[in-house]
Each structure stands twice: as structure tokens, then as C-alpha cells.
Symmetry: C2
Subunit: 254 residues, 2 copies
């Protein structure tokens, strides 16, 4: 049984609490959160605290806090030589306080509170100071039914940036489309099968092969119609920059 | 039985030929394509031509040609008072020659030759000069097991622009991520479950609710790390423009 204390109350913490409390072989000994109310309400049998000196002993401390708080929070842990890991994509493992054994468990996935996560679709990028701790982290991911891969801090940063492109930026593209639809009395639902199909294509074709649309066809007239239609500057700028990037990628020129 | 002549040989034509030849109630009388070889090879029993005066009589002529060719091709059709439709998102129905009855069958989907399309996931936007022709087009979409909706040319243009954002632009985001991964020896496959999850989220949450990542968290330090890491100007510009757009959307400021 691996005894875990989880620190944090954001989206990743929310899903980890839910998953760990339902995973055989893992025991969630405590959650540390600034605001304890929400968690105490949902998990009445769980030990919850916001006082550092009340922190329980555990095998692993998982910090699911904001990137900028990782260093400070790791300094607050009132123990030494424990395994302390963070869950951030873009924070080096060495940002964690040296007084404890350090590691990283970065899930390559997007977590929203209102959407259940299938952990078999999550890969954790693992990093650890030593081989024994690496194996503990690997064991945790296995018990969570997730996959894992070893990545150093620099590769993890590159992967996190890539994740921002494929997830945060694509979602924002959907938001901008939603706005265009609303302004023109079009049901955004019409686009949902296209959104799914576009994502599924990447499982079969490389994004380079999967590219379609006016930019790759170098269809100047359609591009012109689209930019004329987009009266709002932000939409126009984004349309033009990405269109040019597609054309450059495929060796086309305006 | 609705008798169809298809004009064109691009991605949409490719999938329509495949689907129509396998659909009861529809008869593909002929395909007109500049290069007849590929089609003749794959469909030995199909009538294929590249000579306008050999064009057969049919109930509907479907033009799946490039946007800029629609007007000219519609003028070449050696018949009058036939139902002639195009399949483009951004071309007004009135671009079709007035000598025939005009209509539009625009599929809201992305078509690549190497990816099979499930037509039950395709919605066709229909437009027609008259109610009778509208019903013929609606009947064709039903026989194709697809959905349909009535949209006028201006709404269709807005929908097509939205489709460019959710499909062409999101796919390009995946391509850029693939490049970042390759440059850092990271397996792009790691991101595939994230790509699928991000798309599936839009079926459950609005893109506004589904947004995650450093931009919406206003995580300036992470954004700075990412833009410092991206040495290539195009990637940096795209990162910054979309990050700012997300922050503006959610009322945050750099």
C-alpha cells in the first residue's frame, strides 16, 4: 500500500483525489488545501488540513499546486528525506526543496472539473532523483491504470509547450468559432462532428498529411473572402497568421 | 432513383464517388474529371469523361471542384434547366450559371483521401433556388445517411470560416506541436489521447468552460518560459497571439 498526501485543490488535484480514493493499493492519507471546505464536503471520511504542522507522514507527497507555488510549498513540508513530487509540465524537478527526495509526475492530459477523466488515456511523465523513487512513481501510475514514460525536465517543458498547442490553443480555436457562429445565428453543434473527426484523423494520418482547407490549397480568393468577413481585428490577425504558417509549412506563398 | 453526374476529382469528389456508388436510391451516371485515369482504374464500370459534350443527362450535377472553378465549370455544362449544385462553403449559390436551376450541398466535414468518412457524422448545408429542388437535395443527403440543414450563402460562409478555425487551424496546431516534439526527441503519440480528449470535451462543455492552461491561469512565469524556449519566430508569434487572445477572452491581462 502506497500512502499518499496530496497538496492542492485545483483541477488536477480534484481528479487525483477522486481517482486515488478509488484505487486499490493506494491510500490517500490526507489532503492539504488552503480552502478545506469543498473537499471535506465531498469526502467526509478524508483527512483534510490547511495547517502545515498537521501534515501527516506518507510515502509520497504529491504537489498539485500552481507552478509558481511549487518551490515555496515544497519548502513548507515539515519533513525531510521524503519523496516529494510535483505535477507540472514546465517546472524543473530541481525547483523542489532539496531537503526531500524529489520527483515529477506530470500527466499529459487536460483536466476540467466537470468532465470525468479515463486514466487509461493518461500518460504520466516521470522523473526522479534516484531509481528506487522512479519505481515508486511508476508503480503509482500503474495502480492508477495510467501509462508512464521517463522524461527529463527539458523534454517535459517541450512536451508541455506542445500540449499547449494541441489542447489549449485548439480549444481556443473552437471558442473563436463558437463566437463566429453565435454572431451569425448558426448552431455551434454543427461543428462538433468536424471537431471530433479532425482529432481522430491525427490517430491515422500525420497532421502534415491531414491538413485540408483554403490555406493548403493556396486558395487566395477564399482566404480573401474570409478575412474580409472577419471584421474583428483579433480574429483577422489569428486567421492571417495561422494561414501564412500553413502556407509556409507546405511551401506555398501568398 | 436519383441520377447524379459528379464533376471533380479532389478529396470531396473522391469520397462522394465512393459513397454514391454504394448507396441504394442513388445512381452515379458519370464522373467528369480532367484526369480520368485514377477514377477509371478504381471504378472500371463507371462512365468517366473529360469532354463536355460527352456529358450525360442526369437529375443532379454535383460540382466538387475548386472554389475558383465553380463559375466557369457551371457555364460549361451543356444543358439547361437542370439542377446544378456546388459543394463549397464560401461560394454563393448565385455564382453558378443562371442557365440551370441552382443549389448547394456543402458538407461540414474534413475529407482526406486516406481516411474513411462516416457519412452519418456529416451534415450537409443545403440551399436551392426553389422548394422542389431543396427537397431533392434533402433526399440525397438522407440516402447518404447524412444530416442536413438549410443555410443561406452568407451563413454558410460564416460556418465555413468557423470550420477553418476548428479543423484546419487546430490540425495546424497539431502539426506545430509535432515539429516541437521531433526537435526534442519526444514521441508525438504521447499527445494523441490529449488531442482526442480536448475534442471530446467540446461535446460536454462549451469551449469557454473547457479552457485550461497557462494563459487562462494568467501564469506569466510559465508563458515566459514557453516563449523563451520557442526560438523560432513563427512559433513564438503564434504562441503569443493566441495566448493574448485567450487572456482577453477570459478578462485577464498580461
Amino acid at each position: 500500500m502506497i500512502k499518499i498526501v496530496l497538496i492542492g485543490s485545483g483541477n488536477i488535484a480534484f481528479h487525483l483525489i477522486q481517482k486515488i480514493t478509488n484505487t486499490e493499493g493506494l491510500f490517500l492519507a490526507q489532503v492539504f488545501a488552503r480552502n478545506t471546505n469543498d473537499i471535506a464536503l465531498n469526502y467526509p471520511n478524508l483527512s483534510v488540513t490547511n495547517i502545515w504542522k498537521e501534515l501527516k507522514e506518507a510515502d509520497v507527497y504529491i504537489l498539485a499546486v500552481s507552478d509558481n507555488a511549487i518551490e515555496e510549498v515544497s519548502n513548507q513540508i515539515p519533513f525531510e528525506n521524503k519523496l516529494v513530487v510535483h505535477t507540472a509540465g514546465s517546472v524543473a524537478m530541481t525547483q523542489l526543496s532539496i531537503k526531500n527526495r524529489r520527483g515529477v509526475l506530470y500527466p499529459v492530459q487536460t483536466f476540467s472539473k466537470n468532465k470525468i477523466i479515463d486514466f487509461s488515456k493518461v500518460t504520466f511523465c516521470i522523473e526522479a532523483d534516484n531509481q528506487n523513487d522512479y519505481q515508486i512513481l511508476e508503480e503509482i501510475t500503474k495502480l492508477l491504470s495510467a501509462k508512464s514514460i521517463q522524461l527529463n525536465s527539458e523534454q517535459r517543458l517541450a512536451l508541455h509547450i506542445s500540449a499547449v498547442f494541441v489542447s489549449n490553443f485548439t480549444n481556443h480555436m473552437c471558442h473563436l468559432a463558437n463566437e463566429i457562429c453565435q454572431q451569425n445565428n448558426i448552431d455551434f453543434d454543427l461543428l462538433k462532428p468536424l471537431i471530433i473527426e479532425t482529432a481522430q484523423k491525427v490517430n491515422i494520418l500525420s497532421p502534415l498529411e491531414a491538413q485540408t482547407g483554403p490555406a493548403i490549397r493556396n486558395d487566395f480568393q477564399t482566404i480573401q473572402k474570409h478575412t474580409d468577413f472577419l471584421s474583428e481585428n483579433n480574429l483577422k490577425n489569428i486567421y492571417q497568421l495561422i494561414t501564412t504558417s500553413i502556407q509556409q509549412t507546405h511551401g506555398k506563398e501568398l
